[in-house]
C-alpha cells in the first residue's frame, strides 16, 4: 500500500471521482434553478418496464446532470474557459461592444413567419369590425448594428419585417418601430444583458404608437419612477460572462384603479417581489399571464360617458409597454396567447374594443407557435 503514495495521480484521481460522487449523492435535491429559470429533473422511480422501454435511463441521466453539485459554478468555469480561448460567443450569445450581448441569430424560420402572418390575416378576416394595428419590434442588434461583432451574419429584420407587413391584410395599420428606436439609440432603450427593451425603450415604442394615431404621449417627467440596480438578464443567464456589466431596470408609478390578472385582483402593475430576484423583468404586469385588465383614470383623451378600450395581444415586450397605454384608454386589456385561458372568439364576443394592437418582438414572431390561437 505504501507504493501507492508514489503515485499521487492515482489517489488524487480516485479521490476526485469518488469523493465528488459521494459529495454529489449526499446533497439534497433542488427543485428549481433560478438561473436556468426552470424546474430541475428529479430522481425517476425505477420500474422494470420503464427500464425496458428505455424511458428510465435518459430521465435518470437528466436527473444526475440537473442535480450535479455546484452545477452553476461548473457552468461559470466553462464560460471563463471560453473567454480565455478568445471566444466572443458562449451558448449562442455574442459579446458585443460596451457590454452589449446579442443572440447570434443567423436564420429566421421563414415557414413559421409565413404561418404566423397567415394567422394574423385570418384573425382580421374573422373580425372585420376590429380596428387592428400590428407592430413587430426589432431586437437590440438591429438598433445597435455597430456593436455587433463583425461578420456575425445576423438576420436582416428590417427587410423581413417589411416583407411581413406587405403580406398583411391591407386594413391593418402597421408600426415600423426601427426608425423611431434608432433615433433614440443614444439613450438606454435596450438592456445589455437581457433580450427585452428597457422601460424607456417601451416608452418610445408607446410614443410612436401614439403619434401614429395622432395623439400626444404622456410626458415621462410627470410620473414618479424607481430604479432597480443589479439586473442580470436572460442573455447573461446563457453566457454567464465573468465581465458582464449589470443593467438597471426602471419602473414608473403609473396610478391605476384596478389590475385584474386572470380574474384575480392584484395590488398594482408590478410584482414587486420579482425586483428582488434574478428574473426582474418578470415583475412587469406580474409576468406573462393570459388576460390582464388595467383600469385607471389616467386617460388624457377622456370623453365623459364613454369607456374606451384597447386590446393588446403581445409577448413579454408588451409587459413594460402596456401600462403607458392607460394614458390613452380607460381600460387596457392585455392578452398573452401562450397562456390565454379562454378561446379568443369567446373573449371577443364578451368584450368590445376601440383598438387592437398586436405587438411582438421579431424573434418571437418568427418562432412562437401560439398565434394559431388567434383563430380559435
Amino acid at each position: 500500500m505504501k507504493k501507492i503514495l508514489k503515485f499521487p495521480l492515482i489517489w488524487l484521481f480516485f479521490l476526485f471521482l469518488f469523493g465528488y460522487m459521494i459529495f454529489d449523492v449526499s446533497q439534497y435535491n433542488k427543485t428549481f434553478s433560478e438561473l436556468e429559470n426552470r424546474e430541475l429533473a428529479q430522481r425517476p422511480t425505477f420500474t422494470l418496464s420503464s427500464f425496458y422501454n428505455n424511458k428510465f435511463s435518459p430521465k435518470y441521466e437528466s436527473y444526475i446532470n440537473d442535480q450535479f453539485v455546484l452545477r452553476d459554478q461548473w457552468i461559470t468555469l466553462k464560460s471563463l474557459s471560453e473567454s480565455l480561448l478568445g471566444k466572443i460567443e458562449n451558448n449562442g450569445i455574442m459579446y458585443g461592444e460596451n457590454g452589449y450581448m446579442f443572440q447570434h441569430y443567423t436564420s429566421a424560420d421563414m415557414e413559421r413567419i409565413e404561418t404566423n402572418t397567415r394567422f394574423v390575416n385570418e384573425f382580421i378576416e374573422m373580425y372585420p369590425d376590429l380596428n387592428v394595428c400590428m407592430g413587430i419590434i426589432p431586437n437590440s442588434y438591429m438598433v445597435y448594428p455597430e456593436k455587433v461583432p463583425l461578420g456575425a451574419g445576423q438576420v436582416d429584420q428590417a427587410a423581413l419585417t417589411q416583407q411581413i407587413y406587405s403580406n398583411l391584410h391591407p386594413s391593418v395599420q402597421t408600426l415600423d418601430f426601427l426608425a423611431p428606436l434608432q433615433e433614440k439609440k443614444d439613450e438606454y432603450i435596450f438592456y445589455r444583458t437581457d433580450h427585452h427593451w428597457t422601460t424607456l425603450g417601451a416608452y418610445y415604442g408607446y410614443s410612436f404608437f401614439c403619434s401614429s394615431k395622432g395623439w400626444g404621449p404622456v410626458s415621462l417627467d410627470a410620473i414618479d419612477k424607481t430604479v432597480v440596480s443589479d439586473f442580470y438578464g436572460t442573455y447573461f443567464s446563457k453566457t454567464k460572462a465573468h465581465n458582464a456589466v449589470a443593467d438597471t431596470l426602471t419602473y414608473y408609478h403609473i396610478p391605476v384603479t384596478q389590475v385584474l390578472v386572470d380574474g384575480t385582483e392584484k395590488n398594482g402593475l408590478y410584482d414587486l417581489e420579482k425586483f428582488q430576484q434574478r428574473d426582474k423583468y418578470a415583475a412587469f404586469l406580474w409576468g406573462n399571464n393570459g388576460i390582464t385588465v388595467i383600469k385607471s383614470e389616467n386617460n388624457l383623451r377622456k370623453e365623459e360617458g364613454k369607456t374606451s378600450r384597447i386590446l393588446v395581444i403581445k409577448d413579454s415586450y408588451g409587459n413594460s409597454f402596456s401600462p403607458f397605454l392607460t394614458y390613452q384608454y380607460d381600460e387596457v386589456y392585455v392578452v398573452d396567447l401562450r397562456s390565454i385561458p379562454v378561446k379568443m372568439s369567446e373573449f371577443l364576443a364578451e368584450n368590445s374594443f376601440d383598438d387592437v394592437l398586436i405587438l411582438y418582438n421579431f424573434m418571437n414572431f418568427s418562432s412562437d407557435t401560439n398565434l394559431a390561437k388567434l383563430r380559435y
Binding site: 495521480l9 476526485f16 436556468e36 450535479f68 466553462k78 456575425a152 436572460t234 443567464s237
Partner: protein, 458 residues
C-alpha cells in the same frame, strides 16, 4: 452510455473500478462482464440479447472448430456460421435501410425499411468476434474455454462502442492472467484524461464551428468560411475519434489490459499510404489481415492486386456508414493509394514540404466527402471551396476559433508529446496539467446539459 458524460465519470467509472479492484482475482473478469453488460444495456436494453448471442455464437463455434480440427467440413461450416452471424447482424442493423432505399430507387419498388436504432458499437464488436473465430479456424490461437473470459473479451466496456478493434490474440494472455500494477494504472489515468480532453475540449469545441457552418447552409457561406468549416471538421473527427480511443486505451490500462495503439499523429503523414498506417490503425490492420491478405494481397498478378485493393477500400468506406458518400470516400483513398503505389510514393518520401501540403489538402477534401452525406449538398459545398465567394462571415468565426485552431494544430503534431515529456518530470506540473484538463472537461460536460429556459419569457 458514453465516456464523455457526467453519469459515466461520476457514477459508472468510480463504482466499477472500486468493485473491480476489490474483487478477488478469480472474480475480476466476472465483474467486468456484469459492469460491461450494464454499460451496454444502459439506454439500449433491447440489444442486451444481441450481445449475449454474440458471445455465445462465437464461443460455441470456436470450441467446435477446435474439437473437430481434423474434420475440415465441420470447421468450414462453423466458420461459415460465424461469418454469417456476425456480418449478417451488421448488415441487418446497419445496412438494411440502405439496400431497401437503393432497390426502391432502382426498381421503383416500395419495400419498407426497418425502424431500429443501430446497436451501440456493432461495427466494432462484430469485427472483434469475427477475428477471434477466424484466428481459431486458422489455428493462430486456441479457443477460449472459459466463457467468462470470453464474455469479458467481447463485452469489455472500454473498447466496446468505438474501438480500438482489439483482437482476441492482443489480450488473450491478459484475459487469463494479468497483474495490475500502479505504474500501469498511473499511465492509464494519464491517457484517459488526455483522451477526455481531446474529445471534450478540442473535438466538441472545434466541432461547433462545423455545426454552425452547416446551420448557416452551404449556399450562404463565403469561400474562406467553407475552408474554415471543413478544416474544423478535420480536426473534430481526428480528436473525437482518437480521444475516444485514448480513453479506451487508458481505461484498459487501469483494468490491466494493454490495447493496441489506434492513432499515431496521422496528420503528419507524407503520403496517403503513410496516413493509413497512422489513422485508425486497428481497423486498417483488420482489413489487411482478414480481407486483403486472404484475397491474395500483393502476391498476385497486378490487375488482381489492384482489384484486391479496390475491394478493401470500398469495404473500408462502406464500414464507416451506410451511405454512398462513404463508399466514395473509401474509393477516393483507393485512387490515391494506387497512384502512390505505382509511382508517387518515392517522390513524396523525398519531399519535405510538398508532401505535407499534398496530404493535408486532399485529406481535408476527403473529409468533405465523409461529412456530407447528401450529394447535392456536397456539390454545393465543393463549389464553395473552389469558386470564390467573398464575404465577411469568416472574420467572426476565425476570431472565435483562432486559439482553438492553434491548440488543435499543436496537439496534432508530435511536438505536444515532446513538450509533455519534458514538463511531466516535475510531478507538481504534471498533476496540475492533468487536473486542469480533467476539471475543465467536466465543466464543458456540465455546460452541455445547461439549458436555460428563456424562450418562455420572450
Amino acid at each position: 452510455m458514453v465516456f464523455s458524460s457526467i453519469i459515466f465519470l461520476f457514477r459508472f467509472l468510480p463504482i466499477t473500478l472500486f468493485v473491480y479492484y476489490l474483487a478477488p482475482k478469480k472474480m475480476k473478469n466476472a465483474v467486468l462482464v456484469v459492469c460491461s453488460l450494464f454499460f451496454y444495456s444502459w439506454g439500449e436494453v433491447k440489444y442486451f440479447p444481441i450481445m449475449i448471442a454474440s458471445v455465445l455464437v462465437d464461443y460455441i463455434v470456436s470450441l467446435t472448430i477446435e474439437k473437430n480440427r481434423e474434420k475440415k467440413g465441420i470447421c468450414k461450416i462453423c466458420m461459415g456460421i460465424s461469418v454469417l452471424f456476425n456480418l449478417g447482424m451488421l448488415f441487418f442493423f446497419k445496412y438494411t435501410n440502405f439496400f431497401v432505399e437503393n432497390i426502391n430507387a432502382l426498381t421503383g419498388a416500395h419495400l419498407s425499411g426497418i425502424h431500429l436504432t443501430l446497436p451501440l458499437g456493432i461495427s466494432f464488436y462484430t469485427f472483434q468476434t469475427l477475428s477471434y473465430t477466424i484466428d481459431v479456424y486458422r489455428g493462430k490461437t486456441k479457443a477460449e474455454r472459459n466463457i467468462v473470459n470470453f464474455a469479458a473479451f467481447v463485452t469489455l466496456f472500454p473498447q466496446l462502442i468505438a474501438g480500438p478493434i482489439v483482437k482476441y490474440t492482443d489480450i488473450s494472455r491478459e484475459l487469463r492472467e494479468r497483474k495490475i500494477n500502479f505504474s500501469q494504472i498511473n499511465e492509464g489515468i494519464t491517457l484517459f484524461i488526455f483522451g477526455l480532453g481531446k474529445k471534450v475540449l478540442i473535438a466538441n469545441n472545434i466541432g461547433s464551428l462545423w455545426d454552425q457552418v452547416q446551420e448557416l447552409g452551404f449556399s450562404n457561406i463565403s469561400t474562406p468560411l467553407a475552408w474554415l468549416g471543413i478544416l474544423a471538421y478535420s480536426f473534430q473527427i481526428y480528436f473525437d475519434f482518437s480521444g475516444y480511443s485514448l480513453m479506451a486505451i487508458g481505461m484498459g490500462k487501469m483494468l490491466g489490459f494493454e490495447f493496441p495503439q489506434n492513432f499515431n499523429y496521422p496528420y503528419i503523414a507524407k503520403s496517403m499510404t503513410e496516413f493509413w498506417r497512422r489513422w485508425h490503425i486497428t481497423l486498417s490492420s483488420w482489413f489487411r489481415e482478414y480481407v486483403y491478405i486472404p484475397l491474395g494481397g500483393n502476391r498476385v498478378s497486378k490487375p488482381r492486386m489492384y482489384f484486391n485493393i479496390f475491394i478493401v477500400w470500398a469495404a473500408t468506406g462502406f464500414w464507416h456508414g451506410a451511405s454512398w458518400n462513404f463508399v466514395l470516400w473509401g474509393l477516393f483513398f483507393f485512387v490515391f493509394l494506387v497512384i502512390e503505389k505505382t509511382f508517387l510514393l518515392k517522390y513524396l518520401e523525398k519531399s519535405h514540404v510538398l508532401s505535407h501540403v499534398y496530404v493535408c489538402f486532399f485529406l481535408v477534401l476527403s473529409w468533405a466527402l465523409f461529412a456530407i452525406t447528401d450529394f447535392s449538398q456536397l456539390g454545393i459545398f465543393l463549389q464553395k471551396l473552389f469558386s470564390f465567394t467573398s464575404g465577411t462571415d469568416w472574420l467572426y468565426y476565425l476570431r472565435n476559433y483562432f486559439i482553438t485552431f492553434l491548440i488543435a494544430i499543436f496537439c496534432s503534431v508530435p511536438l505536444v508529446e515532446k513538450w509533455y515529456g519534458k514538463v511531466k518530470k516535475k510531478t507538481a506540473v504534471n498533476l496540475l496539467i492533468l487536473a486542469v484538463i480533467l476539471i475543465v472537461s467536466v465543466a464543458y460536460l456540465v455546460d452541455a446539459t445547461y439549458n436555460p429556459f428563456l424562450y418562455f419569457r420572450f
